[in-house]
Symmetry: C2
């Protein structure tokens, strides 16, 4: 589905996408992609915006605009965590991983499992061309298990 990539390779994917869709290749868009590339883990639009204020200044609206494009070309995914803020994650350069979401405290941990990954990635559909996936396991983290048993 995907593998470790350099920024150049990622930028090319984005460039091709922009060309194909006849969207403009603005410096803001590449600056945002670079910032995402340099980051680890999950992030939201506003924190990305804040991080960028020192380097290449863009407006929050442009961040949202660009997220839409990156989402559309599959370079990032949107996660359902947290309350009101959308959490994003890049789909490149990470180890493929799955999420453990605690239904009590909302904490999110990651884990990898080759067997699960293989089974999911080897699934072929006749009428759907899959590029990537997200798996969330819901339950109780260690802390919340302990808290419940105390009572």
């Amino acid at each position: 589905m995907k593998e470790e990539l350099t920024f150049e390779a990622v930028r090319d994917v984005f460039t091709n996408y922009l060309n194909q869709k006849k969207h403009r290749k603005t410096p803001e868009r590449f600056a945002i992609l670079k910032q995402i590339f340099d980051n680890e883990g999950h992030f939201d639009a506003e924190s990305l915006y804040n991080q960028m204020q020192n380097d290449y200044r863009v407006s929050l609206a442009t961040v949202y605009n660009t997220m839409e494009l990156l989402l559309d070309c599959g370079l990032i995914v949107k996660h359902p965590f947290a309350g009101q803020t959308s959490q994003f994650e890049k789909t490149f350069g990470n180890n493929i991983h799955h999420h453990l979401v605690c239904t009590k405290c909302g904490s999110v941990k990651e884990f990898s499992d080759k067997k699960i990954r293989t089974v999911i990635q080897s699934k072929i559909f006749s009428s759907f061309e899959s590029s990537h996936y997200s798996l969330y396991l819901y339950g109780l983290c260690k802390k919340c298990q302990a808290l419940l048993k105390q009572k």
Copy 2:
């Protein structure tokens, strides 16, 4: 992880949860649960609210409040589809299924795969007690594949 249930069984799960948490067993809460039980597929808070206006009238705030409780006791899950609105789905009475999300048009389809289900469900964690899961495969649906090839 779960199996086909009658409304009585589901109601009992909710009742036990409310007792355990020392929350009150109000008619509104059970009316909302009943409405969810009777529905198929995904739904959001506002459409549930609208559906109920004919039967047992509740406020939108109470719907949101109750969703929180149902989420907490695992009777429903929250999905990351769509733009701004949270989509929910009951975790009981459905066939266990996975989701195919088109990254172009946003359509969501379901599929079942026993092998995938088994591999995920048989995963045991030393410090996480999982109760259910969600799997999303992102890619292009048949329609959008065709549209792209035309160009």
